[in-house]
């Protein structure tokens, strides 16, 4: 009798689909996976309904990869479902791990979001006040759609998570490594971040690093950059020094600053705050007015510092 195939599932919450594409980006490797695993549920790629998952016994799935954040009740429902039915549940990609780009929605309220989408944008017919509701009466029946949450959550905020794979999306090599580890049964301690280094991007970045003193900050297009020299030293924002490596330094190698999608280093509880501390420390001034002027070169710093991790931050959302 043939060895039992691994039972796996992949699901997307509040997601863009990029993580699912990243799995497909492993190219031929996916065929190797298909040879040893049954993909029981993967909305983007294979047929399958929630009822199929509901019918499974607890722990029937060997592995579930959940990408995307938790924005609404459907995301949470499926997260709980997959947790119950899986031996190993992985928060896959920055959204599931830290909230991701959808997490920036925590800087505004649910009402503001719905108003912008359904009431006050240029493509709405004047007078149209239709806003989605979780429950509506239609033809004498009750229609329920998932309820839109007040804020975006990480996967671990609603269920226990076994492993975290950061990245927006995780690099194909890391995807392979994770899948192989599961196949071979060589998993690190539960709760680990996998597919990422224990050191910051600077460790793998080939740019030269020396004295760090910044007198002004620039957007990448505002100066002619020296592509062999550290970006921060040239006044270009790069979060690499505060961010886990493992991505292959994709962004600095493309002359853009790292945006932090692999999240903070171990032991750092607030990614944006740690980066703020480092960045501000190297501002080259002792004069309060000059400092304010230099900081004017960092508009909307909150969105930079928490681009992928607002729901993972200490304050998690806006309190306006």
């Amino acid at each position: 009798m043939a060895a039992k195939k691994l039972q796996i599932a992949l699901y997307w919450g509040a997601a863009c689909g990029g993580c699912d594409v990243a799995v497909l980006d492993t190219n031929e490797f996916i065929l190797d996976v298909a040879a040893v695993a049954d993909v029981r549920f993967w909305p983007i790629a294979v047929d399958g309904k929630y009822s199929d998952v509901e019918a499974m016994s607890d722990g029937e799935l060997d592995l579930a990869l959940f990408d995307g954040a938790v924005r609404n009740s459907e995301n949470e429902h499926v997260a709980k479902l997959l947790r119950a039915k899986s031996k190993v549940l992985v928060a896959f990609g920055s959204c599931a791990y830290m909230g991701g780009i959808p997490g920036l929605a925590n800087l505004v309220t649910k009402d503001e979001i719905l108003a912008t989408a359904y009431l006050s944008n240029a493509s709405i017919e004047p007078g149209n006040q239709t806003v989605p509701r979780a429950r509506s009466a239609v033809d004498g029946m009750t229609l329920e759609i998932p309820s839109f949450y007040r804020r975006v959550y990480r996967l671990q905020d609603v269920v226990d998570v076994d492993y975290f794979v950061p990245g927006c999306p995780p690099a194909p090599d890391q995807v392979k490594a994770v899948l192989l580890a599961v196949v071979k049964g060589e998993l690190p301690p539960r709760g680990s971040v996998v597919g990422a280094s224990e050191r910051a991007v600077c460790d793998d970045c080939k740019r030269t690093k020396s004295e760090k003193k910044v007198k002004s900050f620039h957007r990448p297009f505002e100066i002619i950059q020296d592509s062999s020299r550290c970006l921060i030293e040239q006044g270009i924002l790069c979060m690499g020094s505060a961010t886990r490596s493992g991505c292959g330094v994709r962004c600095p190698n493309s002359n853009q600053g790292c945006r932090g999608c692999y999240g903070p280093l171990p032991g750092v509880s607030d990614h944006g705050a740690k980066f703020l501390s480092a960045l501000a420390s190297i501002v080259d001034s002792k004069d309060p007015k000059e400092i304010e002027h230099i900081l004017d070169g960092l508009p909307d710093f909150i969105s930079f510092a928490y681009r992928f991790g607002m729901p993972a931050s200490t304050l998690q959302r806006s309190y306006k």
Partner: protein
């Protein structure tokens, strides 16, 4: 984590704490907390019985953490750390809660003060859970010393050290020794010859084989830390050639002296315009030549001395330059000695006769018929050229305070008592040796009362006028004090480095180099081979700047770790 057995000791401090904080209520609140093996209150925890109680409880209850809720740790942290040590517990496993200076003494509402005391004690208990048993490190102490400055302070310090059989490198910027004192004829108040004072020193310095004298030399760089400094000295020889020499020293004495205030900045005194307005140093030149005369070669019939030139004034320097009053009296004495018929006016703000023999000197000078005129420090006298019908060169208008009259004084020679100011290159020196300057540019001592020759950088000492205006007795005292401190350190042979410093976890350091420039002590080095940064424990002062700035969280601030501070934050808010 090991099983914690925390002992909490709450001090009544007589009624200082107990009057506003219900100490029993704090004890009761604490007793119930997890991990608390024992909670006690006592009248005076810092007393011998109090300290013995802690040591005994540590032994009897096998305590592995101690919290003392009492006065400020700035008062008694050392005391209670010692008590722990005596009980056999590592002293860093102790934490204090300040429920006196920052609680019972400032909040009269008993309920509120007690609640706050509970919160602060709770925070200390939370924090101490994460304390680690830190150990001090030891390093070697190089017995050689670098003395910067060849004036009376530098010469004195160098001799003190060399006489104790230790190597000294004496670096002097100019071609001669003696500094500002070499420009002086006689010293006040005993009218000793400055030349005699210096010649004795200079001869002994030149003869001492342990003193390596480097003239025309300047400190180029100083690297390392106390006990282990590497100094590079740059010497320019007669033909303009430059040589660099590296010396290893354990300590440095900075004795770079002062410069005088530029009298031309006070325009209505006429210095630089009127030929017979001279500064004190210019007058000293006359005294050394043995001829007091005006620029026209005449004996002055009228002489005037003006005090506080550039001193005691917000416009220039707010401080008193200390030596000028007695020196002015010396000039009055010299003028009268040279020409008893000379009318001498001493125009002063206050007569600072603070030292030994000063009051007597003042008395004797007033007896030789010097006219003393007092002015208010913000209403300076005005000097102008006299007219053709006046029998003097210049006239000085003074708003005399005691008589409340506007008095006009004749003067053929005016001596301006210029104050002391920090040398123009003192900023450069401060940067090289890593010491601070105050707002006036004087080098800052570790503590103005209790530690006047040490600085906040271990191994760097300051002596003489580079630290603040002072006279020869105080300068010599400081030079000897600095030497004595260094001799004490050398005698120990090794230095003990406090166990609290920053540590880079090289498994986490990415070589980003955010930290290296942030350290005022250059204690974090970057290794180009390993591409990691590393802290030199002996050089680190544990300020925590690098710990907070490290974007990877790879630098641990011993005794001020993230876990400890988080626990403390949560504890005060529980």
């Amino acid at each position: 984590m090991e099983e914690l057995k925390i002992g909490v000791f709450i001090c009544n401090c007589g009624s200082n704490i107990a009057h506003h904080v219900d100490v029993d209520a704090v004890r009761e609140a604490v007793e119930a907390m997890p991990g608390i093996a024992i909670a006690r209150s006592y009248k005076y925890m810092c007393s011998n019985p109090g300290q013995e109680m802690i040591a005994r409880d540590i032994r009897e209850h096998q305590l592995n953490r101690v919290v003392v809720a009492a006065c400020s740790p700035r008062m008694h942290e050392k005391t209670f750390r010692n008590a722990c040590r005596n009980g056999g517990l590592n002293p860093y496993l102790c934490e204090m809660a300040n429920i006196r200076e920052q609680c019972s003494w400032v909040h009269s509402d008993q309920l509120a003060a007690t609640e706050k005391a509970k919160a602060l004690t709770n925070a200390a208990i939370n924090r101490v859970r994460y304390h680690e048993p830190l150990e001090s490190l030891t390093a070697e102490m190089c017995p050689a010393t670098l003395v910067i400055g060849g004036g009376i302070a530098g010469l004195t310090a160098a001799l003190e050290l060399a006489d104790a059989a230790h190597q000294v490198y004496l670096v002097e910027r100019t071609a001669t020794l003696g500094g500002n004192l070499a420009r002086v004829d006689l010293t006040a108040p005993h009218l000793d010859s400055a030349r005699d004072l210096l010649t004795e020193r200079i001869t002994r310095v030149r003869a001492n084989s342990r003193i390596t004298l480097m003239l025309n030399s300047e400190l180029q760089s100083l690297a390392g830390y106390v006990g282990n400094y590497a100094a590079i000295i740059r010497t320019k020889n007669g033909s303009g050639e430059v040589q660099e020499r590296k010396v290893d020293v354990g300590n440095v004495v900075v004795a770079t002296g002062y410069q005088e205030f530029d009298a031309g900045r006070i325009t209505h005194y006429g210095h630089g315009k009127l030929p017979n307005v001279v500064t004190s140093f210019e007058f000293e030149q006359m005294l050394r030549k043995g001829r007091i005369e005006t620029r026209h070669g005449k004996l002055p019939q009228y002489a005037a001395i003006i005090h506080c030139v550039g001193s005691r004034n917000k416009e220039f320097h707010p401080y008193c330059s200390r030596v000028c009053c007695m020196t002015a009296l010396k000039y009055a004495h010299e003028l009268k000695s040279a020409n008893p018929a000379c009318y001498v006016s001493d125009i002063y703000v206050d007569m600072h006769a603070f030292g030994k023999g000063h009051e007597d000197f003042y008395k004797t000078t007033s007896e030789v018929k010097t006219l003393f005129l007092m002015f208010e420090k913000n209403e300076r006298p005005v000097v102008r050229k006299a007219g053709p019908n006046d029998d003097c060169e210049m006239l000085i208008e003074v708003n005399e305070t005691l008589s409340r009259e506007r008095i006009e004084i004749p003067a053929d020679l005016i001596i301006l008592m210029v104050g002391m100011e920090a040398r123009a290159d003192s900023g450069e020196v401060a940067r090289l040796v890593n010491i601070s300057q105050d707002q006036e540019g004087w080098f800052m001592e570790s503590h103005p009362k209790l530690d006047p020759v040490a600085t906040t950088t271990d191994g760097i000492y300051i002596a003489g006028t580079c630290a603040a205006p002072k006279d020869i007795p105080d300068t010599v005292a400081q030079a000897r004090a600095a030497a004595a401190r260094i001799l004490g350190k050398i005698a120990k042979g090794k230095i003990e480095i406090d166990g609290v410093f920053a540590e880079v976890n090289e498994d986490r350091c990415s070589g980003c180099r955010m930290c290296n420039e942030l350290c005022p002590y250059s204690a974090i080095e970057f290794n180009d081979q390993t591409r990691r940064s590393h802290v030199i424990p002996a050089a680190c002062k544990a300020c925590g700047a690098c710990v907070a700035a490290c974007p990877s969280g790879a630098i641990k601030g011993r005794h001020f770790t993230v876990e400890q501070l988080h626990a403390q934050i949560d504890g005060v808010l529980a």
